[in-house]
């Protein structure tokens, strides 16, 4: 049972949250949120507990290996942050607040299943499970124009992508005669390669990389803040994880390397350029997420074990450094409003904790030491240069420089601006406080001592598929 503890914990949490939201009374949203946090803690504990578990239940369609358990740890961390953010009472209308934790945990369950799936149909189901939860989460502001709009766009784009994926699955299946990832073989026929490309499009959509990136800014903006937190953190881990698993199985054919290289370079460039002039903080984070997807792809482009490990490491790092800004947004965006840069003005005076969180997060996203963003980039780049991808690293580093422009502007807003007199005082729930402190501590620890987590990532990337 230990092997499946995280999944069970996530499922249990989802059910518990759902049950709690069924209750009646004014305290229900709070209760649900607390159950959600509790569930997230349990899930995280379960993920930690099951970290070393190894199993192959369900007749070979599902594995519990180093990779999956590493991913689940990352997902559980992201879920915890999202659940903590979900305790913020102002971010969503009360009637929907009960749904929020439920859906978060449901999505987490989907992501966890995704990270363990080694068979195409299982994988498809898990992908859809996590996606549906996210679609609903993105549209949870259905009382607002943009809520339903963002949800609709996300969903339709996602549905088209998943239809493409499943079409690709059928082609793969037909041409290789198997749905087991490990049996796909590293030298599939060209028609199967097309199937593979179509199949990957769904995964790339999940990671929001070019050319499947366009939903990200809209969905980030439309989604309630805790939901955006989940999309922006845990979901990335799952997406990178499954890409790692698939690529490990099918090998890196020249075609894939080229496609991923283009996607990587285009994503980081488009993402950073798109973010440059954003004034809405969440949109900005959405664009920047596209760029970070591009960075993470570097690890997959270079097709080495160390590259995959670097991508996985970066995914987890991204949870830590990406969480901070979302927490800030959650705290600032009362009533589900999306804070823009003007709302950040004078943040350092209004709430030093949030300002510090923002600063650390921005430095982290920009890859500045001593945040783990630096180590994350460095490892990716080492893996890339090891395979001769000098120019790719140069492009990525130049992109990181460009990204500094908008990250630093947020910092400047927070640190220099004058507090507008009508700005309401910032009240942080204890959970939010806890989340902020946790994120800061994790950033500092992971930034100063990336070694242990890297070891896990390296283990995860080390050919964990049953051959």
């Amino acid at each position: 049972m230990t092997a499946l503890a995280p999944e069970l914990a996530a499922a249990g949490s989802a059910i518990a949250c759902f049950a709690a939201s069924m209750a009646r009374g004014p305290g229900v949203p709070r209760l649900t949120a607390r159950v959600g946090v509790l569930g997230a803690l349990v899930t995280l504990a379960a993920a930690l507990l099951a970290l070393t578990a190894r199993a192959e239940p369900l007749a070979g369609v599902y594995v519990v290996d180093a990779l999956s358990q590493f991913l689940k740890l990352g997902i559980a961390s992201g879920v915890l942050v999202a659940a903590l953010a979900a305790t913020d009472s102002t971010s969503l209308r009360p009637s929907a607040r009960g749904d929020l934790p439920t859906l978060i945990h449901l999505g987490a369950l989907g992501m966890m299943l995704l990270s363990s799936a080694v068979e195409l149909v299982t994988l498809y189901v898990a992908l859809e499970l996590s996606a549906y939860a996210l679609y609903v989460l993105a549209a949870l502001h259905r009382d607002q124009r943009m809520g339903s709009e963002g949800g609709a766009r996300y969903l339709l784009f996602g549905a088209a992508a998943s239809a493409t994926t499943v079409f690709g699955i059928t082609m793969l299946m037909g041409h290789t005669g198997t749905t087991q990832l490990t049996h796909l073989g590293t030298a599939p026929p060209p028609a199967a390669l097309l199937g593979l490309a179509l199949f990957l499009s769904g995964l790339l959509f999940k990671l929001a990389v070019f050319p499947f990136h366009a939903w990200a800014p809209d969905a980030y903006e439309a989604a309630p803040h805790p939901a955006a937190t989940l999309i922006g953190t845990a979901s990335k881990v799952a997406a990178i994880g499954i890409l790692v698993r698939v690529l490990m199985a099918v090998g890196h054919s020249q075609l894939l390397v080229h496609l991923l290289l283009l996607a990587s370079v285009a994503s980081m460039t488009v993402g950073n350029l798109g973010a440059l002039l954003q004034r809405n903080v969440k949109r900005l984070l959405g664009w920047s997420a596209i760029a970070h997807g591009g960075y993470a792809l570097i690890g997959l482009v270079v097709a080495s074990e160390r590259g995959r490990a670097a991508a996985l490491f970066y995914a987890v790092v991204y949870v830590v450094i990406g969480a901070g800004p979302f927490l800030v947004v959650t705290a600032l965006g009362a009533g589900g409003r999306n804070p823009d840069r003007a709302d950040l003005q004078g943040l350092a005076r209004r709430s030093p904790l949030l300002a510090a969180l923002l600063l650390v997060g921005m430095f982290g996203l920009a890859g500045i030491p001593p945040t783990p963003g630096f180590a994350g980039k460095w490892f990716l780049f080492v893996a890339a240069v090891e395979r001769g991808a000098f120019w790719l690293v140069l492009v990525a580093a130049v992109n990181a420089t460009i990204s500094l422009y908008y990250y630093l502007q947020l910092i400047r807003d927070a640190w220099t601006g004058e507090v507008s007199p009508d700005a309401p005082p910032i009240v942080l729930t204890p959970s939010m406080r806890l989340a902020a402190v946790l994120v800061l501590a994790a950033t500092a620890l992971l930034g100063a001592f990336p070694g242990p987590v890297w070891d896990l990532a390296a283990l995860a990337a080390g050919g964990s598929l049953p051959q």
């Binding site: 498809y124 609709a152 969903l155 339709l156 088209a160 079409f167 059928t170 299946m173 037909g174 954003q278």
Partner: protein, 106 residues
């Protein structure tokens, strides 16, 4: 032309039609139908491969037919969510035209 190829081509055509529907139709519902067509193309493909293809039960945990079942189930769930969201869109704009989704940009 073997039946397999015929089915494959048919599925491909269906897929393209669905994609065209997604790209060209302005009505959200119609776009959703386009997606369903794409899914059906996948189903057709899977069935064809399952019937005529080489999918070896010894190596494949599931066959094409089983995949189709999953596709159908998931498509239904997807349609439910989609319709709910489209309904929400309609409630705000009294329109389900995709071009009216114009709040979020930039």
């Amino acid at each position: 032309m073997t039946p397999l190829t015929a089915f494959n081509l048919c599925a491909l055509a269906l897929f393209c039609m669905g994609l065209y529907g997604v790209l060209a139709r302005k009505n959200l519902i119609a776009m959703l139908i386009g997606v369903e067509l794409m899914l059906n193309a996948a189903s057709l493909n899977a069935l064809a491969w399952g019937r005529y293809g080489l999918v070896d039960p010894a190596h494949a945990a599931v066959s094409g037919q089983i995949l189709v079942l999953f596709i159908i189930g998931l498509a239904a769930a997807e349609a439910a969510i989609a319709l709910a969201i489209i309904l929400a869109v309609h409630r705000h704009r009294h329109s389900v035209d995709v071009d009216d989704l114009d709040t979020l940009e930039g």
